[in-house]
């Protein structure tokens, strides 16, 4: 259930679609969709400590958003810096980037 290695045995691009990634993306999309449909929460009741539903639901959803994004973070594979290549090999900003003409 890990990522699919490339042909040469090395992980290649983000094109590797693992089930975990699909679940992560579905969670993120679902969580965002709910908060983008105001008919879901556009009412006054039920109130919580006297706060109308419209207001407390959205505040609550911030916490849901954090939890969901956190789960997505754990599900999406870490960048493959841990394996294969030597992370200490580079100091990225030392050289002037050639692309910036």
């Amino acid at each position: 259930m890990d990522s699919f290695p490339g042909v040469d045995g090395r992980r290649r691009t983000g094109a590797a679609i693992s089930p975990a990634r699909v679940v992560a993306y579905a969670l993120l999309v679902g969580e965002s969709l709910v908060i983008l449909i105001p008919t879901v929460y556009g009412r006054a009741t039920p109130r919580l400590f006297g706060i109308p539903f419209f207001y407390w639901f959205q505040l609550l959803w911030i916490i849901v958003g954090m939890v969901v994004t956190g789960i997505a973070y754990l599900l999406v594979e870490r960048p493959p810096s841990a394996g294969g290549r030597d992370p200490a090999a580079a100091h990225p900003s030392a050289e002037r980037p050639g692309a910036a003409r």
């Binding site: 290649r12 691009t13 983000g14 094109a15 993306y25 993120l28 999309v29 969580e31 965002s32 908060i35 983008l36 449909i37 105001p38 008919t39 556009g42 009412r43 006054a44 109130r47 400590f49 006297g50 706060i51 109308p52 419209f54 207001y55 959205q58 505040l59 959803w61 911030i62 916490i63 958003g65 954090m66 969901v68 994004t69 956190g70 997505a72 973070y73 999406v76 870490r78 960048p79 493959p80 810096s81 290549r85 030597d86 992370p87 200490a88 090999a89 580079a90 990225p92 900003s93 050289e95 002037r96 980037p97 050639g98 692309a99 910036a100 003409r101």
Partner: protein
Amino acid sequence: MKHDPHVIGLELGIFIALFLLVAGLGFAAVRWRSVKRLASIDEWGLGGRSFGNFISWFLIGGDLYTAYTFIAIPALLYGTGALGFFAVPYTIVVYPLVFLIMPRLWSVAHRHGAATPSDFIRVRFGSPTLALAIALTGIVATMPYIALQLVGIQAVLQSMGLSGTGWQKDLPLIIAFAILAAYTYTSGLRAPALIAFVKDALIYIVIIVAVIYIPSRLGGYGHIFHVAQAHFATPKAKKAHASFLLPAGGGLAYWTLALGSAFALFMYPHSITAVLSTRNRDVIRRNSVLLFPYSFLLGLIALLGYMAIAAHVKVTNTNLAVPELFQKEFPHWFVGIAFSAIAIGALVPAAIMSIAAANLFTRNIWVQFIDREATPEREAAVAKIVSLLVKIGAVVFVVLLSGQFSVNLQLLGGVWILQTFPAIVSGLYTRFFHRWALLAGWLAGMVTGTLMAYAVPNPAKHQHHFGGSVYAWHYFGLHFKAYHGLIALVINLIVVVLGSLILNALRVPKGEDLTRPEDFEAPVGEPLPPLEVGQPQPA
């Protein structure tokens, strides 16, 4: 009322002391984490691309949640009610977007030494024209945003009673910004990164105290909402199109505002500057989870608008609602801290915005079109001077023109920056869309967005134009009210898709693409391939 026309000594004393502390930090930041002199855009303008999880959390949080946010979002709830709460879904939606999109931008920017969104566009699409369009949009959208930070400071100074006559009126503001300009010039992005610690600590303290202490004085949250509900039921409030819950048909305006703002936020140059200053792509992913507490904070800040209503704060300029609320409810010494928090909260984003605009101008206009042989040292020198000019421009803007003009332009700026979304984000995933189609879509979005923004009246403020962000659409048999920025984005996308289909069918040259698929997933520590980059790659 406690509000006197004269300056209140204790408040001002605390305010000046904290401001000086922050200025000292700003100048000291030049020595912080620096390996050598700040003689390149990467060092001066991106903090050496070295910030880890901890610093980035403060920096990005301090960058995105600006002083104007603390003033304007509650002001919106105070003035219009439920619609103003769109800031909450906005900040909920933005982090999943960051989580998905920004690591790709980080990687490709890292591999190709891109310091600005336009650098990426040029590398990806081989089109200096499209890159120029993106750069100009970024600069033009950022300028009024910087000016708005000044409006935030102005609201605080005014509330403290620092309002002389004539040119003296603006003197404190000019001094504050001159000091900011000086330490940004010397320390670059390291200055706001260091100051962000102070800013965020102050903001968290003030808001947490505010959302506990003020309701305790006003009779609890239930009572506050009760008063607000009664307030929005009055004929006067109804006439101003304000409402306690979303009106019928208001849902579309609500979610388009939230989604459009979320799309726009990370297209702003200052957001991208903060993203590119991180040490690796995992820092961005991690922070898109960890930054949520700021969103919660923002939700609580928004409610300050209702607290102001419950505390019987009466202001015509809604931007003064929060300062007046603090004046009314807090003891003097804490008002000093709260106002410092807002003012320092303006300095961090203003510094990052001016740096971002300077990076854009230097990389994508100056070096691209005027001084092609510039060394990194010369790039940094140009950027530093431009950061000064940008700040002077913002001060002139606010002092000579009305604050309302900055607000209008900032609304427009949001519409404009949103039109760079198709080029930047599609470019991170695909080359299907044609560079000229992206340019045409951008132009279509800019023009229609500006026209729609112009056509929005605000009867409550007696404005005929630029009256708000919700446009009533009545074309092609469709009738709805939505955020004009997002409508313009849809028009933009239609042009991009149709144009790309046509141009691709005609086999119009697509431009040189210097990126490779794996560049978008390049992890931390991948060495830059300096030789390879200049070589043409098959498109």
